[in-house]
Assembly symmetry: C2
Homo-oligomer: 388 residues x 2
DNA sequence: TGAATATCTATGGACTCCACAATAAATCGG
DNA sequence: CCGATTTATTGTGGAGTCCATAGATATTCA
């Protein structure tokens, strides 16, 4: 990363930023002495910096901690409520909008149910309603939003266009940025939903702090996403983790092992997998065989990614991860013969909010990028405007 | 990257660093005015910074450019000769040590031929002789080296141990850092040879500036390496790009398509591939079939990586890349049915020095890391000492 | 030779940080 | 309740760095 110098005000800016960073990364409020220790500044300068940040509205004073010897120190906290970001999951069955503060804590959400048959325009309208509901719930307006990210199924290119989608017939080519931009004046990012789920797990979930991981979306439509060197890997055209497109992996058809299993005879396709996993849990041989057959195929594509990337961790997400107790051991067994080293595999924990939370994380990342970039200014807290 | 503030000397340090960076990235020497424009400093401060750098020995004055109006401006250049790094390729058939200056220009090299039958100790002795030869050729001593990196076949873990190697029976477990550390006091890095070749291509070769690429080592022992987000991807245990270990890719046996081709009947195994490519170039049907069969298998593993990562570029390296005119079109054709988007494929250009040059690039990266890290100091130019 | 152009050099002022000393507010023990 | 102790806050002087501006210098062109 470029480390640019500059004049004295730039130095002050760097010190303001590292103080903000220290306060955000701390678990609770910090005293002046603690802040000085973390930023490396002297106490005297810390006073200047903190009063500056307070004047600008970035931090707030908290009542002193009770107890302890000596004069109680003033304590300061980052004003996470100075701004908010919005994360949206535009799924096949639901649209979920979550508003978080600058610390990533969810403060409000709005949810609208949709179906695979919902048309493009109806789905976009559902997005608007979910956003409105979240804003109302949070007592906020669009002007309070500093960044927005949305997750969509399908391949999303660098310009935010959905270029390829199979599950929804009329969704390809939708201009989500254009649609959202009509109402929202803050920067907008679009990303693939599995990628956002992976990001959420790496920030808030079972993969917290892991730098290299493969996220498996095990469900009726399988997929995968990668986090490499701590960053979401987007790829040149957005089509990463698509190893399932190779016929030899069998990912296109592997859900059939579950849906067509005699253990799920007569069930609707969307319920079949759950029944098979439940039967497998009780030891039903046919169900166990179906799970093993599914895991064998899932392992084939997974092994290709693991051998390519040698990740520290594999996260098992998607609808079938609810049955991780059955599926995960089968997957590990199936990976064994293919891999040099089978990485640790953990089931996803974030549930159905994972895509929205991941979107909020991505929006927060972009807010941070603007602040911590060499050109970034730190005026008063305010929502940034889109350039376009 | 963390950008920490600090006191006024830290600000000066940042300005020194960005001036050094500007001079290194420029194509030729720069005047004070030009430097001031690139760093954003005022002219007056630029004078201070430049005299500082000159006093410390980091930059040197160059005679003014002739012609032009007005008083001729003094010009300054980065003293790339202030330090050197060493890159070593420890291969099956040769050991090649290259010394470069801080700009990455090769200034001297030493080469020692070895064979697959060379024992571990003999090979290590060959390494020492190659280093000595390069030092003699450059008129340098080990104290002039600021960093060393070596490329070895096999899997190299984060600690620099060679953990898995098939081509040389007694090479696994060799303690290269320990061996080199007995003579060299600078920081030492060990890395897999294909990874270094990929790095060289991304810095100096056909992939200059590309952020995401897959490097294919097409030769008698196939392999692959990845550059992701502009950085070498090392993986958790160093075993990246090992997709060829999956039996369904057929990478273990695909060289047999060339070596057992009737077009190479009677030739020694190490010459067979060259003969087949030559015959294919003349249109020989048996040779063309062999190349296609080889390319089909190579494409299988390549497609798995491309679908996983969606890279901008694939670089075709390794011994067979000398026949890229024949192999590359076949590979592209074979990739077509597997991939959503077949990335651009370019043949490697760096020849047999690529691993050594990549090693030098890696050593230079580590030198830069120390300088541009927040804690990095910029005292007088001097070789850093190893911590251990 | 003199005008034009661009660079070099020197000075004063503004800003930021640091070190040190004096002051303020709490707890603890008698 | 009061002083000793502990810790935090406030204030002052000094040093380092950068900027703006003005005058001196060196080269080209007419």
């Amino acid at each position: 990363m470029q480390v640019n110098g500059g004049d004295l005000q730039r130095l002050r800016q760097l010190n303001l930023l590292s103080s903000i960073r220290a306060l955000r990364e701390a678990t609770g409020p910090l005293t002046l002495t603690e802040l000085a220790a973390r930023t490396g500044l002297s106490r005297g300068s810390m006073v200047d910096v903190v009063t500056d940040l307070q004047d600008r509205g970035w931090i707030a004073e908290v009542e002193p901690a009770p107890g302890g010897m000596g004069r109680p120190a003033k304590r300061y906290r980052f004003r996470a409520d100075a701004g908010h970001v919005l994360g949206i999951d535009i799924g096949v069955h639901k649209v979920l909008a979550i508003i978080t503060d600058l610390a990533g804590r969810a403060v409000a959400s709005g949810r609208v149910a949709v179906t695979p048959a919902t048309t493009r325009d109806e789905r976009l309208e559902a997005v608007d309603r979910a956003i409105d509901a979240a804003l109302v719930a949070g007592g906020l307006t669009t002007l309070d939003l500093w960044g927005v990210a949305a997750g969509s199924i399908g391949v999303v290119n660098r310009e935010g266009m959905v270029t390829r989608v199979t599950a929804l017939p009329d969704w390809a080519g939708v201009d989500l940025i254009g649609h959202l931009g009509r109402r929202l004046s803050c920067p907008i990012t679009i990303e693939n939903d599995s990628k956002l789920a992976a990001l959420a797990e790496q920030r808030l979930g079972v993969a917290a702090g892991v730098r290299d991981l493969v996220y498996l979306h095990a469900g009726r439509r399988p997929g995968a996403a990668l986090i490499l060197n701590g960053l979401l890997h987007h790829g040149f055209s957005g089509a990463t983790g698509e190893v399932g497109l190779m016929d030899i992996t069998g990912w296109r058809t592997m859900a059939g092992h579950l849906e067509n299993s005699p253990a799920a005879a007569g069930a609707a396709p969307e319920d079949a997998a759950g029944l098979v996993f439940a039967s497998a849990r009780t030891g039903d041989p046919a169900a166990l065989a179906a799970v093993d057959a599914y895991a064998d195929q899932l392992a084939l594509g997974t092994a290709a990614m693991v051998l390519t990337l040698d990740p520290e961790l594999v996260v098992l997400g998607g609808g079938f991860s609810r049955s991780a107790d059955v599926l995960l051991p089968a997957l590990r067994r199936a990976l064994e013969p293919h891999c040099l080293r089978v990485p640790e595999i953990r089931p996803s924990t974030l549930g159905e909010e994972c895509v929205s939370l991941g979107a909020a994380c991505l929006a927060l990342d972009h807010v941070d990028d603007r602040f911590f970039s060499p050109q970034g200014s730190i005026s008063r807290p305010a929502a940034p405007q889109r350039l376009t």
